[in-house]
């Protein structure tokens, strides 16, 4: 997990169920996903392969698939399932309907 100061990104309802949205935090772009099981995941927004926008990818309850070349990463660990470099993972949680990123 990467360290970040705690930031409120706004209401969870800003992210449709099963999709992701990109947030600019401390000069970084972070993709936050709201899984269909209700939990949140936050990862680096940039695909390490060719810079694809991961928040535009499709997810299930464990992975995100980059929309450009369909490489897949585990949302919990950041590990690639398709032989690519890993992506960064950030702590994120929901509190009173708000998305709280960082610790």
């Amino acid at each position: 997990m990467n360290t970040l100061s705690l930031t409120n990104l706004g209401p969870v309802t800003d992210i449709p169920l099963g999709e992701g949205r990109t947030y600019a935090v401390d000069g970084d772009m972070i993709a936050v996903f709201r899984l269909r099981n209700g939990s949140l995941r936050a990862v680096s927004a940039v695909c390490p392969h060719k810079g694809g926008p991961l928040a535009d990818g499709q997810i299930d309850n464990s992975i995100v698939v980059c929309p450009l070349h369909l490489f897949a990463w585990d949302l919990a660990t950041g590990c690639s399932q398709s032989g690519q470099a890993p992506i960064s993972v950030y702590p994120v949680r929901e509190d009173d309907g708000q998305i709280l990123l960082g610790e």
């Binding site: 309802t13 800003d14 992210i15 449709p16 169920l17 099963g18 999709e19 992701g20 949205r21 990109t22 600019a24 000069g27 970084d28 772009m29 993709a31 269909r36 927004a45 940039v46 060719k50 810079g51 694809g52 926008p53 991961l54 928040a55 535009d56 990818g57 499709q58 997810i59 299930d60 309850n61 992975i63 995100v64 698939v65 929309p67 450009l68 070349h69 369909l70 490489f71 897949a72 399932q81 398709s82 032989g83």
Partner: protein, 819 residues
């Protein structure tokens, strides 16, 4: 309620059936009986064990732990003596009575011993030094005995006999193979091929082969010293292996009053005739008069039985077409269907090169492959087996079926390819990378494709990827259960999936995962295919979950390499007006569109548009979506037809516009690209479209389907010639609907049409042989009625942040801007 399932037989069929039932979450407590005191093992690998290329552990499919992990009671080494069908119990050799609710008989076969004097010893079973070749114990005994002896005779020149002979060479110095028939493997090979194989076995392997050799007597008092043939010949030896064939184990079933002919008689659900709760599967079962001794049919039977017993209705096993592709004693052999022509009109194509040990024979009936035999060269076996299984029409050039004549480089055998040879030209994956994935533990074709991305681009290299994976696996890729599934995350082929979706009225993608996937696991890679299928099935009743859509379908534009999108206004039939052109030009200028490009489908592509600008651009354009992104009906390309062209014989432009107006946006399993051309000069390239219409003289129109000019090149097949534009429009819809309902996910028409066969499609779509034409018309009409222009979503986004940028701040590879 949990039912008691009893399985008699713990071999490949019995255990596989139980595995299939477990995979379907069948609610059973399972008890299995096996004659042999082991878990279950791969009998086919006994040859490898004998040959010393496999260890005992290596041939086990499920060890004893598997049984306990799955709560299965295994009675290993316990024989069932009779079934009491009336009281639903089985009685075993220990005197124990086990009740059942459902019973499966998978007793397989035993090794058949031809009548010979002195083969049995009254005290010990077989005479000392004589072995059958059927079980692990047989094989162990044979290895132990052969080690201390020198000369072996194998009785039986079928596949098993050849394998035994080859394996024994590992233990003794002289092996003679005796075969009662005129040539080896007479069930699979014609005489020429059999002789060719014999020459190879003798020349390359040094095994002596005697055909027409009827063994009448085993010689030797205490132990074997030789065998005697019907003509009086004596062959001295000290080991005899009998591999003369197998017979189904049906005695117990027959004694229990079950219907037994050659095998236990079963119906299409593998149910024993007249017995609602007893099933039989594998080599002991007789289905529609046939017994099967190969693995592939057995797997099919196990699936049907598992489906049926766990409550899937409408499943039936309808028999298997038999084909084999193997190495017989180190020599490539493949065989399928007939080994000799049956009709005067059957076409026989033969190639024979004795010096190299290569022989190939095809038997063709009405342009369809009905039999093939290959010896010494299996390079074309995979494609022939496919043509044989599917019954597809063969190309005119028969030679191409058995040779690679100027074929693409992809036809090089994997063994001869360099490690760094590029296999997947879209994703740059080498042969070495594929082999690396296999040695890292990925044994299935789809697994290798997932981990390397090979074959995930245009898809043309998939057959080569498969061959390399098979080769790297040492012969065959592991069977991939997912290969027949419609999408990777839901374990069902399309018809079964559609039936389940209808049965449970599943109208959203998440409900399909929740209901149909064991454990309810969602799968990102399955979402798009399911969304397309559900939309097709439910039209406006479909519950649209936006996360099930690929980004292109969420924002109605094609994502580009830099994360921007493209805007393609609709331009029906490629026709536009000066006013529309002006508007497009103004919008392109206003939004600084980096590139304006005319597409292959006669549309104007505005490339490089940031996501957040899409709604405003669409509003300024105020034109409908041109569908340049989805797995859906794309464009209808046209020529100018009769309006201006000197040669045009039909108004292709008007017809193209009418087709596009009617079917715009229609979703499908793949893209649908169409064209209408005004005369056979084909300026609109209609012969190479998913559906192409060609005006011919006399006011008629030809409809071609299954054409392609992309990654695959294929001229479409002529479906029909009709007299009016109205008929073209109607039949277009009917064909597209049939394709939508029956094609696999991402299967384009160029693969779908040859798979089904143009004649069959014509029967359904034109002649209405199945009586479904009006239903297809109604279904496509319903889909057309539910059409909405997706670009209207610009005013009110469907989801929060639908058009918010996901572009990273880092500098990305920019699409070059041309002056």
């Amino acid at each position: 309620m949990t039912q008691r399932l009893v399985v008699i037989g713990n071999g490949m069929a019995g255990a596989r059936t139980v595995e299939e039932i477990l995979a379907r979450n069948g609610d059973f407590t399972v008890t299995m009986f096996g004659d042999e005191p082991y878990g279950n093992y791969n009998r086919i690998m006994l040859s490898n064990l004998l040959a010393g290329v496999e260890t005992e552990e290596g041939i086990f499919l499920n060890d004893l732990a598997w049984y306990s992990e799955n709560g299965i009671t295994l009675n290993a080494g316990v024989k069932v003596e009779r079934i009491d069908a009336k009281n639903k119990t089985v009685h075993d050799s220990n005197g124990v009575v086990t009740p059942y609710d459902k019973l499966i008989i998978a007793t397989g076969s035993y090794s058949w011993t031809p009548p010979m004097k002195n083969v049995h010893n009254p005290k010990r079973g077989y005479h000392q030094g004589v072995f059958a070749f059927r079980t692990l114990d047989d094989t162990r005994g044979m290895i132990r005995y052969a080690r201390d002896h020198e000369r072996a005779v194998v009785i039986g020149g079928g596949l098993l006999g050849l394998e035994a002979a080859r394996g024994l060479q590992n233990h003794v110095s002289h092996v003679t193979l005796l075969h009662a028939m005129g040539h080896l493997m007479e069930r699979q090979l014609d005489p020429k091929a059999g002789q060719m194989l014999q020459a190879s076995v003798e020349g390359k392997l040094g095994i002596k082969v005697i055909t027409n050799a009827m063994t009448t007597e085993i010689l030797g008092k205490d132990r074997v010293t030789g065998v005697k043939l019907a003509d009086g010949t004596v062959i001295e030896c000290d080991v005899v292996v009998i591999a003369a064939g197998i017979r189904p184990n049906t005695e117990m079933a027959a004694n229990s009053g079950l219907p037994v002919e050659r095998g236990i008689v079963v119906d299409d659900q593998m149910r024993v005739e007249g017995q609602p709760d007893i099933y039989s599967v594998g080599e002991c079962a007789q289905h529609r008069g046939s017994l099967y001794g190969l693995v592939a049919p057995l797997w099919d039977q196990a699936k049907v039985l598992a489906d049926h017993i766990t409550g899937t209705t409408d499943v039936a096993y309808t028999g298997s077409k038999l084909s084999t592709k193997l190495k017989v004693a180190g020599i490539d052999v493949a065989s399928m269907g007939l080994i000799a022509p049956e009709h005067d009109t059957d076409e026989v194509v033969v190639y024979n090169e004795p010096k190299k040990g290569v022989y190939k024979q095809l038997i063709i009936r009405d342009d369809v492959l009905v039999g093939a035999v290959l010896v010494g060269d299996n390079s074309k076996a995979a494609s022939l087996i496919q043509a044989f299984d599917r019954g597809t029409a063969l190309p005119e050039e028969r030679a191409g079926l058995i040779f690679d004549i100027g074929g693409p480089a992809g036809e090089v055998p994997p063994a001869e390819m360099a490690d760094d040879a590029q296999v997947c030209n879209c994703n740059g994956v080498s042969k070495g990378a594929i082999c690396g994935a296999v040695s890292a533990g990925c044994k299935t074709v789809s697994g290798v494709m997932d981990s390397t991305r090979a074959g995930k681009g245009c898809g043309t290299c998939k057959p080569l990827v498969q061959r390399i994976v098979e080769w790297a696996n040492g012969g065959a890729a592991e069977e991939d259960p997912a290969a027949s599934w419609y999408v990777p995350g839901v374990p069902m082929p399309k018809p079964e999936l559609m039936a389940a979706i209808r049965k449970y009225e599943l109208k959203s993608v998440s409900s399909v995962f929740d209901k149909l996937v064991p454990g309810g696991e969602h799968d990102a890679k399955s979402k798009m295919g399911l969304a397309s299928l559900l939309k097709m099935m439910w039209a406006d009743q479909y519950i649209d979950e936006r996360d099930a859509r690929f980004i292109n379908d969420r924002v109605h534009g094609n994502i580009q390499k830099d994360g921007t999108f493209s805007v393609v206004p609709q331009m029906k039939g490629g026709v536009t007006t000066p006013a529309e052109l002006k508007r497009i030009a103004e919008v392109a200028e206003k939004y600084n569109v980096p590139m304006v490009k005319l597409t292959g489908g006669q549309r104007i592509d505005l490339l490089g548009v940031p996501k957040e600008q899409l709604p405003a651009m669409w509003a300024d354009l105020d034109m409908p979506s041109g569908y340049a992104y989805a797995k859906s009906f794309r464009t209808v390309k046209t020529c100018v037809g009769s309006d201006f062209c000197r040669f045009g014989v039909g108004d292709s432009t008007a017809l193209g516009i009418a087709i596009e107006e009617r079917y715009q946006g229609l979703e499908g399993p793949g893209k649908m690209k169409l064209a209408v051309t005004g005369c056979p000069r084909n300026c609109a390239e209609a012969y190479v479209k998913d559906l192409g219409v060609v005006a011919i003289d006399g006011g008629k129109w030809e409809i071609y389907v299954g054409g392609a000019a992309g990654a695959h090149i294929r001229k479409g097949d002529l479906l029909v010639t009709v007299d009016s534009a109205e008929e073209v429009i109607k039949l277009t819809g009917r064909f597209l609907q049939y394709y939508r309902e029956n094609a696999n996910w991402l299967e384009r028409t160029y693969a779908f049409v040859p798979r089904i066969g143009i004649d069959r499609i014509r029967e359904i779509v034109i002649d209405d042989a199945d009586g479904i034409a009006s239903r297809l018309d109604a279904a496509v009409d319903e889909a057309v009625q539910s059409y909405k222009d997706p670009w209207k979503e610009r005013a009110e986004p469907a989801t929060p942040g639908q058009f918010r940028t996901s572009l990273p701040l880092t500098v990305l590879p920019q699409v070059p801007v041309r002056a």
